[in-house]
Amino acid sequence: MGAGAFAEAGADLELVGISKRFPGFTAIEDLDLRIPAGSFFALLGPSGCGKTTTLRLVAGLEQPTAGRILIGGKDVTNVKSFKRPVNTVFQSYALFPHMTVIENVAFGLRRRAIKDPVAKAHEALRLVELDHLASRKPQQLSGGQQQRVALARAVVNRPALLLLDEPLGALDLKLRRQMQLELKSIQTEVGLTFLHVTHDQEEAMTMADTVAVMNKGEIEQMGAPEELYELPRTAFVANFLGQSNLFTGDVTSSTGTSIVVVVAGIKLEVPKERAQRHTGQVTIGVRPEKLILHTSAPTVTPGTNTLGPGRVTDVSFSGVSTQYQIAIPGIGLITVFAQNMVFGPVVNVGAEAWVAWTVDHGFGLLDEPEHTPKFSADTDTAAIAMQTRRELLAEIEDD
């Protein structure tokens, strides 16, 4: 964008075959990504998955080893970072310590010779409710305030593309909610394109129109938050975005609309359209809140999958819901989230329980079974801990 002018609207971003190799490791491998103009796009992944590197490549702070970067249809692969119509809210804020807050915010405006930089900077500070601290130095502000200044410093430039590198990490829950709403309203108001990098799945899901889950330098799955949550395609997505109960077994038969997977001798049905693969050994799953807890054997009805009996090994109350861990012989631990419709938990530790879910709520994963852990690491450690606790209790009783 030229000097002295703001971006009229957000620009779309396109990454074509991007790879980034550092000496000794590959951060990103052959990444293709298209972010439409005006959208709020979140790159979600654990640390070290290459999401921050992707952001730095777009900002021009790193050069890709291969591939092209296009912003608004223009190839910017070899354009220096200071000439790109992009601004970043850095994870470390990177506020200039020798300048006041207002000078920090006006910095980008001054560089582009935009009229009234100070007035516009004040306007941006009012947006983040920090105008009264304009003459302070950054180190005199709290972490949350610094983060809001960093946000104002980037937003004030009205970039075609705004990059956010875990910008809400240091905020407390209340301020975080407030900033999430503010960010969202700024984005819709101005129509900018936001690329948000985060490891916080809740933040990604509440704020973004589109979420891309990244793992080991590749995008595992991309789509609207509810789509990703309801129909994860890989075990990684199923477990990184919320929790899942996963079972692996062979497909023994299939009807017109669904496949039947046998797990530890129990037949489980999954709709064909919700399963990525229809033959061989497959991993299927169901979200914990889709499970219904029964204290007596439920009558088997078509269109429902039932597991049990098992034993309740853990009950933890979390306000709106209660989380139950149920150990089912041959299958392992199953997590159930139940809404608290009555006072306190419905069943206690040690009780016999069955779980059931509607066939339509299950999903089948794409992963090759040999790559899929039978149970996610989390439930595994929980199972080990539970086992140790049981052994200890048994020992105490013996004495």
């Binding site: 200071f82 990177a94 200039f96 560089r111």
Partner: protein, 304 residues
């Protein structure tokens, strides 16, 4: 006071901090005694000497206590060109030393961060000249720049230097010598601030539409100001009082004498102690004023 109500228990609690500060004062005594003995006493004696007058019909170098403030006007009238030269040469040397040291310190402190071995090696090279005496090094430069040295003959043949030109004994060689001798004093403080420079600020500058040059002037230089200020002070203050480089036995001549040289001549040659003392006091006062204004103007109070 309220602690007294708790009886004897309160006493040790109240006395503990007082005893600590008492020890701190005791530890200060050697330093204070040293300062009093070797700085304050000579300084007072210097001021007293600067007002002395010659003994009537006395020998050369015989003076008596008086309040002859005319000593000051006399030395200013006689030696003002030496003052001008001293501060001119010192400012020039500080400027050139900064010009050479900043890129050097930037390379060692920022660019060479990835190779700690190179960093250590380069720092050693910056300090290496200290292993050889200051006088020897300056004499070596005199040899290198002498009239029959290859350097001068080459410059003459290239007609950069006229046929009857010299390098030694000129303002050039004095400023050169001062610059050379003070480069480590300039480089090390700048290096220590640049070594701690967070390069993420440079990235942020670049992200906010600042070209590398603008980022350098608006971000890197202000952030390294503490190093620049201490480096320039460590160079300027000793350089303006220096009398080795400008002396005729080293790189200077009668035409390049600085205040340091005339102080030396008055103390040791002419035995005019009041004049030498007045010159010393004046030099100290002027440096103090220049430094105070400089530190105030550079606005580094909150960075130091």
């Amino acid at each position: 006071m309220a602690f007294a109500a708790f009886g004897s228990n309160a006493n040790p609690v109240e006395q503990a901090p007082r005893r600590k500060s008492w020890i701190a004062w005791v530890l200060l005594v050697p330093g204070l005694a040293y300062l009093a003995l070797f700085f304050l006493t000579p300084f007072v004696s210097l001021i007293l000497t600067s007002f002395q007058e010659p003994v009537e019909f006395g020998d050369v170098g015989q003076f008596q206590a008086a309040f002859k403030w005319e000593n000051y006007t006399a030395v200013i009238q006689q030696y003002w060109p030496h003052f001008l030269r001293a501060f001119g040469y010192a400012i020039a040397a500080t400027f050139f030393a900064l010009l050479i040291s900043y890129p050097l310190a930037y390379f060692i402190g920022v660019k060479a961060r990835r190779w700690p071995l190179l960093q250590a090696l380069m720092l050693t090279l910056v300090i290496a000249p200290f292993f050889i005496s200051f006088l020897l090094r300056t004499l070596a430069w005199k040899q290198l720049m002498s009239d029959d040295a290859p350097l001068v003959t080459a410059l003459k043949q290239l007609t950069i230097l006229p046929a009857d030109g010299h390098l030694t004994g000129t303002a050039f060689s004095v400023i050169f010598g001062l610059t050379y001798n003070f480069i480590p004093f300039m480089t090390l403080p700048i290096y220590t601030t640049l070594e701690r420079l967070d390069t993420r600020y440079i990235e942020a500058g670049s992200d906010l539409y600042a070209s590398p040059a603008t980022t350098f002037w608006k971000v890197t230089v202000p952030l390294s100001m503490p190093g620049i200020v201490s480096g320039t002070l460590l160079t300027f203050i000793p350089a303006s009082g220096d009398y080795i480089n400008a002396s005729a036995s080293f790189l200077g001549s009668a035409q390049t004498q600085m205040v340091g040289n005339v102080i030396e001549a008055n103390f040791l040659g002419l035995l005019n102690y009041p004049a030498a003392s007045a010159l010393s006091v004046l030099l100290m006062a002027i440096i103090l004023v220049i430094v105070a204004v400089y530190v105030k103007r550079s606005g580094t109070e909150d960075l130091l």
